[in-house]
């Protein structure tokens, strides 16, 4: 194993890998944010009590959790590309293939699956807020919006945090899959490097270590958030 190939600049792959790290973190963070919004929307639908809203949300989460994430990426990237080519040629009269931007597709696909997992975490957290508090809030004359914003949301956030930490790890690990549609994140950079240098073990091992370090650092960030969210909580009360 020759570590010289990891040098910075033209002689090594250090700077390429560093750019890959930025791309990986950018995709993971963007997908996590969009996925959380999707999750909040789906959880609201499931908690609404109306079958017209619950059903589509349930179908969505069942489909997304039952399908491999890689297949979702293929479906959106290639299937969506074929679909837009068809629309381009038959509706707009443009000939030729339409290629979807792989970075955006990557973010959207991971967000779609993150959303399904986030939905369950958020729904569980909202349900875990004691019902008596809602009654109390109603009794002091709070509106529905005030109750949700001032009573449910802050507590549900705290309860959802451990689960949402897991969802973040999902999001981070799923970014490796977008290498298959050519986004040059850590995994793709490692593949290019290993093809060029014929040192696959070195590159994939470095990729593995990079993911572990990112996971470790982000875990610490979430732990700090948890500590700050847990301020003022009386355990066992």
């Amino acid at each position: 194993m020759d570590l010289g190939i990891l040098a910075w600049g033209d002689t090594g792959w250090g700077d390429e890998l560093a750019r890959g790290v930025l791309t990986t973190v950018a995709i993971a963070a963007a997908a996590y944010l969009v996925g959380t919004l999707i999750g909040i929307l789906l959880a609201t639908m499931k908690l609404s009590g109306s079958p017209a809203l619950t059903m589509p949300a349930t179908i969505y989460t069942t489909v997304m959790r039952g399908m491999p994430e890689m297949l979702v990426i293929y479906l959106v990237f290639f299937g969506g590309g074929a679909l837009s080519s068809w629309i381009a040629s038959s509706v707009l009269g443009i000939r030729g293939r339409v290629d979807l931007p792989s970075f955006a597709v990557g973010v959207v696909c991971i967000a779609l699956s993150v959303g399904a997992y986030a939905c369950e975490v958020i729904r569980g957290a909202v349900l875990a807020v004691p019902g008596g508090q809602m009654e109390a809030a109603e009794a002091v004359g709070m509106t529905r919006w005030q109750r949700n914003r001032l009573i449910v949301a802050p507590q549900a956030f705290r309860i959802a945090l451990p689960g949402m930490t897991n969802v973040w790890q999902f999001s981070l690990k799923d970014t490796a899959l977008v290498s298959i549609i050519g986004v040059t994140e850590v995994m793709r950079t490692a593949s290019i490097g290993s093809d060029a240098t014929k040192q696959p073990f070195t590159f994939y091992f470095v990729a593995l270590m990079i993911f572990i370090v990112i996971a470790y650092l982000s875990q610490r960030l979430f732990t700090r958030m948890q500590h700050s969210a847990d301020r003022g909580v009386r355990w066992g009360a």
């Binding site: 489909v63 399908m67 479906l75 290639f78 690990k173 490692a190 696959p200 070195t202």
Partner: protein
Amino acid sequence: MGGLEFFTLFGEALSHLSAGIPRTMALAGTSLVVGFVLALGVARGVLSQAVVPRSLANGYVYVFRSSPLLVQIFLIYYGSGQFRGFFEAIGLWGLFREAWFCAILALALNTCAYQAVLIAGGLRAVPWGQIEAAQAVGMSQYRVFVTVAFPQALRHALPAYSNEVVLMIKATALASTITILEITGLAKQLASETYRPFEIFAAAGLIYIGINGAIVAGFTQLERLLSRNATQRT
């Protein structure tokens, strides 16, 4: 892309891709069983009082759970090529050259880390008094584990196990990246031959959803069966 044409192609894709079902099941099944056997050892390490086995087991779990499976698969399949001389010398190159072997190895090592956590959690949930009682009536350590601790640990871990099995079925799709023609691999091949990716990948998705739905239903039945027993006794 008319409606009828869509359904014809979708149907054809379904029947073509179903040839991959046994391969997907074989990948997931073998890895789950191998992973389970290994996980027993790792769980033992996780629960150990001794520092060295415990840190080794926790380190193993941490590495495999916090890195992407795709990296693990590539590290084993392509990475082993860098040490070809070494593997030839110890006579294992024949195995590491095989995509099937590498896929199952990576999947098994990966699920082993997750299963170890489930098993350790299940064992922790067994009331200590029961273990003491079993020891008091003179059971050997092995018998305490096999007849008292382990069955209860499994029942406790069952809901999470159903999740892990579903995740493994989904994970087998990654084997298609190293030339294995399971459901996703066949779908990719068919999509590039027909230029109709949407219908084909949608059909593949439906097959996975069907398999996973059946697994979840099966586990729900099993849980009901096992918990019926539990409620009767208490």
